[in-house]
């Protein structure tokens, strides 16, 4: 996490707190740069996500897709530019003079309230049983009543098809089951935005379909905004309304799945899709 946050000038095209109309996107990347030393991962990236939209990020390895999710989850700091979520800067605070400066832990915790994340390697807490993995944060972070949190956790486990595993240790579950618990754990925090970082990449092939089906259900039955980094093109096609094709830290092409998969405009997109489909 060794990154310098350059002093920020107000981005030219950003009206102060642009909450003016109903069309303001839920997530807006405004010239976001992410550098590791000299290596530029994201290069003045601009893109927006509307509320309730399901967006898939595709592109070759190292194109910066995962970095986008990690920036949104505040696991990394932006090197330059601003990420806006619901009209507020995600990882910056306003100084009295109106300029933006990097936020401290307190403000970051405020920003994280809206966002949940599911990781490639599940990252369940091995020291907690399945139920506690799901209730720990609702009880201790949201201050939810313990019984209420447990009831909700059981409902979520039911939703992900694991109602029988309440008292299991994560180590006793298969990868697919662990990932379902991780999804339930993220949903328990009632996020407005759910970030899915290659959630099926670490799973055995026969377990992938079940997890994708579950995510499809969640996409259809909730109004949670979803950003998915995935190599599952079928998922991108079936679940998302928008596909963003990345290469070398930039959006090469974006559009509906039909458009991207059947009639891509950009040569890089065609090459990539030929390689993975």
């Amino acid at each position: 996490m060794a990154t310098e946050s350059a002093p920020l000038k107000e981005p030219a095209d950003a009206a102060p707190d642009p909450q003016v109309t109903g069309v303001e996107p839920l997530v807006r990347f405004d010239k976001v740069v992410k550098r590791y030393g000299d290596h530029v991962v994201l290069d003045e990236l601009d893109f927006t996500v509307r509320r309730g939209e399901h967006v898939t990020l595709i592109g070759p390895s190292g194109s910066g897709k995962t970095t986008i999710l990690r920036l949104l989850m505040t696991l990394e700091k932006v090197s330059d530019g601003v990420i806006w979520v619901d009209g507020s800067p995600l990882s910056h605070v306003r100084t009295p003079s109106g300029a933006l400066k990097p936020a401290g832990e307190k403000q970051l915790r405020e920003s994280r309230k809206k966002i949940g994340m599911v990781f490639q390697q599940f990252n369940l807490f091995p020291n907690m049983k399945v139920l506690q993995n799901i209730t720990e944060a609702p009880v201790n972070v949201l201050g939810m009543d313990k019984d209420e949190a447990e009831t909700r956790a059981r409902e979520l486990l039911d939703l992900v098809g694991l109602s029988g595993k309440v008292d299991a240790h994560p180590s006793q579950l298969s990868g697919g089951q662990q990932q379902r618990v991780a999804i339930a754990r993220a949903l328990a925090m009632r996020p407005e935005i759910l970030l899915l970082d290659e959630v099926t990449s670490a799973l055995d092939p026969e377990l992938v379909a079940g997890v994708l089906e579950l995510l499809g259900d969640i996409a259809r039955n909730t109004n949670i905004t979803m950003l998915c980094v995935t190599h599952e093109m079928n998922f991108a096609r079936d679940v998302s309304e928008k596909v963003l094709m990345f290469d070398a830290g930039r959006v090469v092409e974006s559009g509906s799945p039909e458009k991207i998969f059947t009639d891509p405009e950009h040569e890089r997109t065609r090459e990539f899709l030929n390689a993975v489909l």
Binding site: M73, T74, L75, E105, R109, R112, K113, I115, G116, M117, F119, Q121, N123, L124, F125, P126, N127, M128, K129, E136, A137, N140, V141, A168, H169, P170, S171, Q172, R185, A186, M189
Partner: protein
């Protein structure tokens, strides 16, 4: 030999209270060491340079100066310097605590660092506070890694307690040494001492193995039958735990 036994019989109350002093020094010394291990080990991971620097300095100082000399300092040099006089037992507890706390802090620091970063990230994604992350996610996992190394330190600390003899504390070593000087049975005396310390050390090992099993069970890790009686080394345990 019969001389030795009869004198040992006569000296039994002193030997028994000596054993008690040795156990006191071990248990209290290791509690001080444990506390210091966590304080210094957590401070070593602080964001603040000053806190890290203080921790580093304390650790290097107490690790780098001999335990003998620390004991002599506390017992002989401190009273004229400060006017306070500590009993030999308290000197022992403080010196063992400081010395082994310095070593222990490295165990705590290393174990915390060995918890995969992904665990920290998952806790951040659930919006836990830094304290909550440490207490509920990082520390319970790090603790399992610490136990085998702490077992080693605890046994080393026990084996240092005969140093209390140098301060004329009435510990086990002093009491049995007294039996030797009265009976003249050097060989038997030292054999008995070897045996007694071995039994004490082994008892501590078994206790710590039980602790480790409990901690591992809490992580849902399989603990094979019979591992209670196996003397585990820090290396073996580190690889077993490190695979996670």
């Amino acid at each position: 030999m019969s001389d030795f036994l009869s004198i040992l019989g006569e000296e039994f109350p002193q030997v028994r209270s000596g054993l008690w002093v040795t156990l006191e020094a071990t248990v209290l010394g290791s509690l001080v060491a444990l506390l210091l291990s966590f304080v210094l080990g957590l401070a070593a991971g602080s964001k603040l340079l000053l806190v890290r620097g203080v921790s580093r300095t304390v650790v290097e100082f107490f690790r780098g100066t001999s335990l003998y000399i620390q004991l002599f300092w506390l017992y002989y040099a401190m009273p004229p310097l400060t006017g306070y006089e500590l009993t030999p037992l308290v000197c022992g507890i403080v010196a063992f605590g400081l010395n082994y706390g310095a070593y222990g802090s490295e165990i705590v620091r290393g174990a915390i660092n060995s918890v995969p970063r992904a665990q920290y990230e998952a806790a951040v994604a659930l919006n836990m506070t830094p304290f909550h992350r440490m207490r509920k996610v990082i520390m319970p996992q790090a603790w399992v890694q610490m136990i085998p190394s702490f077992t080693n330190l605890l046994i080393q600390l026990l084996k240092c307690t005969p140093l209390l003899w140098l301060l004329s504390a009435a510990d086990l070593m002093t009491a049995i040494e007294h039996v030797r000087s009265r009976s003249g049975e050097t060989l038997t005396t030292y054999l008995v001492l070897l045996a007694v310390y071995f039994v004490l050390a082994y008892a501590l090992t078994l206790l710590m193995n039980m602790l480790e099993r409990t901690a591992k069970r809490r992580l849902g890790l399989h603990t094979g039958a019979g591992s209670l009686l196996k003397t585990r080394t820090a290396e073996a345990a580190a690889t077993a735990g490190g695979a996670r």
